[in-house]
């Protein structure tokens, strides 16, 4: 699904580096991601997939280079505007990052509360999204009492409940059996069809094979030359 040239790039990276001390997690990344694209980022363990996602939502700053998200220059954004930026993203973190002291419901509703939505609306939306990921009856459980796959599904629910423009998913089905994984992937595809841009970091070549989308390969922090685009 190489985006047609007239389409708008929602995310642009120019010469981006990310260093941790002597370690170069990302080296000279130049990349455009277009509105409503479905992108896989793949590569071996430690290649820099998660780091790349982190740079987009300012989980960490780039060491060098420019990143534009929907026209915002991330290097120049003021601290007060960061929440604004992050609300454009729905993020499924590799390690889920659920709040252990809050129930499943509270973890998911947090996003909507932070947006200032009305309480009865929040309740409706959260229950609906929990139903979609198959956890409607676990809404009052604490995350640590859930199985790994259940936690991952809560993370998915939290990422999509706010109806974000861009979905960043870091290994969103790593803890799921094939059938649950299929459900989640179908969900992300449906979400994509509604107009969102979806970026998935994953090792799962099988999943990549089954799904239409651009594949970006990283190795040792560098982009590999893209194979011929597999247009839809």
């Amino acid at each position: 699904m190489m985006a047609p040239p007239d389409q708008q790039a929602i995310i642009r990276l120019f010469g981006v580096h990310r260093r941790y001390g002597a370690l170069n997690a990302l080296t000279d990344i130049g990349l455009d991601i277009f509105q409503n694209e479905f992108v896989f980022i793949t590569g071996p363990s430690g290649a820099g997939k998660s780091t790349l996602l982190k740079l987009l939502y300012l989980g960490e700053p780039a060491s060098e280079g420019q990143i534009l998200v929907d026209g915002l220059n991330l290097a120049r954004i003021s601290r007060k505007r960061i929440p604004d930026l992050r609300r454009r993203f729905g993020i499924i973190f590799q390690n889920y990052r659920l709040i252990p002291t809050r129930t499943v419901f509270a973890n998911v509703s947090l996003v909507l509360e932070a947006m200032g939505q009305k309480e009865h609306l929040i309740r409706k939306k959260v229950h609906s999204v929990l139903r979609t990921v198959g956890l409607e009856d676990r809404d009052s459980a604490l995350p640590l009492t859930l199985s790994g796959g259940e936690q991952q599904r809560v993370a998915v629910a939290r990422a999509i409940v706010g109806n974000p423009q861009i979905l960043l998913a870091d290994e969103p089905t790593g803890s799921l059996d094939p059938s649950s994984a299929g459900v989640i992937m179908a969900l992300l595809q449906r979400y994509h069809r509604r107009g969102a841009t979806v970026i998935i970091a994953t090792h799962d070549h099988e999943m990549i094979g089954r799904t239409r989308g651009r594949v970006i390969r990283l190795e040792h922090g560098r982009l590999l030359p893209q194979p011929t685009a597999d247009t839809p």
Partner: protein, 292 residues
Amino acid sequence: MNRILKRALADIRDNGFLNAITVATIALAILISSAFGLFFINASRLMTLWQQGVRVMVYLQPEFADAAVEDLRSRLEKLPAVGKAVFISKDDGMARLKKQLKHQLSLLSNLKANPLPHAFEVQLRPAVRDWEEVADLAAAIQKLAGVAEVEYGQGWLDRFAAILRLFKLAGFGMCALFFIATVFIVANTTRLVLYSRREEIEIMRLVGASEGFIRMPLYLEGILQGAIGGAAGLAGLLAGHLYLSAQIDPGLLPSQFEVRFFPPALIAAILGGSMLAGCLGSLLSLRQQLKT
């Protein structure tokens, strides 16, 4: 606001242990610093009262006419610092002297006539605190017609006043120190609590919550904890105070004195300080977390 309160209360419920420890620490810290404050306030009130117990003796001129006594009394009692003026006739004076000199009674047995002058014993108003005020008063009395000499402040009382001053100095210094330390202890405790919750706060930031959204409930929580802890500390102090006051033999204390608790304004100030301290800790902690 209602929403923030709701979230703060939910948060307190979800973090029961942390809250219990925080409130207990605040209560203890407030208890010890205000216990000292209360002790100091009462002790220095007691000492002031003692100092005020000081009489000023006014000796009249030998030729003073008995008829003018009431006139002088009313003039004395009109002085602002004076509470009451008690007339002591020369005979009363001799009786007192005999009691005082019980081992030297032979001295007095040879006397043919009573050589003592009439006198007034002047008691001061409770508002009179300083030694200087007493000295001013004495000077004013000295000027009144018929007054031969004014006497006040025996040696031991002078010494006492110096120690009282020292006591008050140390006391105020320590009150200040204790309350500052309390603020720090409370703030430290809140910082520890938020440190153990930093992952949660980080997650809220990552899902796009604004600083205000994250902080307001935490500040409110700090304030609530400060209020509850402070109130618990003061309640404990009050209980101890009531118990101990009941134990004290009233005969030991000057009759005008009663052991008192803090006045309402001070209670409010202590609670306010404790609320502020709870909030301050959250503030410092959240600031620090932003920096890293």
